[in-house]
Amino acid sequence: SQQGEEDPQALSIQEGENATMNCSYKTSINNLQWYRQNSGRGLVHLILIRSNEREKHSGRLRVTLDTSKKSSSLLITASRAADTASYFCATDYYNFNKFYFGSGTKLNVKP
């Protein structure tokens, strides 16, 4: 499969704690994206990180990319109940120009 794999599959934390999700992939990529999906809704784009970038920030989100290990992580700091959702990484494969989604991490933030 060309999909990324994410871990953990599920994560439950208290409000205010940090949440870290990891994504591993198999072949060279142009870029990697992270998306959030609330239950029963479409996906919302969070961050795009290119293969020549190592870290990117957006508000409470921090994404890192290690191309030597073919892995990425998404850190959500000071989590809120509203962050409860599934989080997916999506990778394009160089020259394929299409995205394939990982299996996702289901995050539950308890108030």
């Binding site: 999909q3 994206q33 479409g42 996906l43 795009l48 290119r50 394009d92």
Partner: protein, 113 residues
């Protein structure tokens, strides 16, 4: 606000009865995608259009077809739905292939009786 709209949000059809799902966009994006997402799974790419060029994924069943009559609209046709086709169907757009974010609609949840 510019957006991607999918209609209907919920669709019920009978086993074997053709069904069409629709997607419209006001973003004027060149690329439109259709994904199938089953419960607790990753979205699976079925096909995409780059302008009028249609690109089918190798493992997309022949039962699934798509039409894009103009930039704004794209349709997913399921010719003879089986029970295994019950899923959420997501439409997405992007301004170009590869290194651009995708913008998703809220999906159509398809049930098969």
């Amino acid at each position: 606000d510019a957006m991607v709209i999918q209609n209907p949000r919920y669709q019920v059809t009978q086993f074997g009865k053709p069904v069409t799902l629709s997607c419209s966009q006001t973003l004027n994006h060149n690329v439109m995608y259709w994904y199938q997402q089953k419960s607790s799974q990753a979205p699976k790419l079925l096909f995409h259009y780059y302008d009028k060029d249609f690109n089918n994924e190798a493992d997309t069943p022949d039962n699934f077809q798509s039409r894009r009559p103009n930039t704004s609209f794209c349709f997913l046709d399921i010719r003879s739905p089986g029970l295994g086709d019950a899923a959420m169907y997501l439409c997405a757009t992007s301004s170009s292939l590869g290194n651009q974010p995708q913008h998703f609609g809220d999906g159509t949840r398809l049930s098969i009786l």
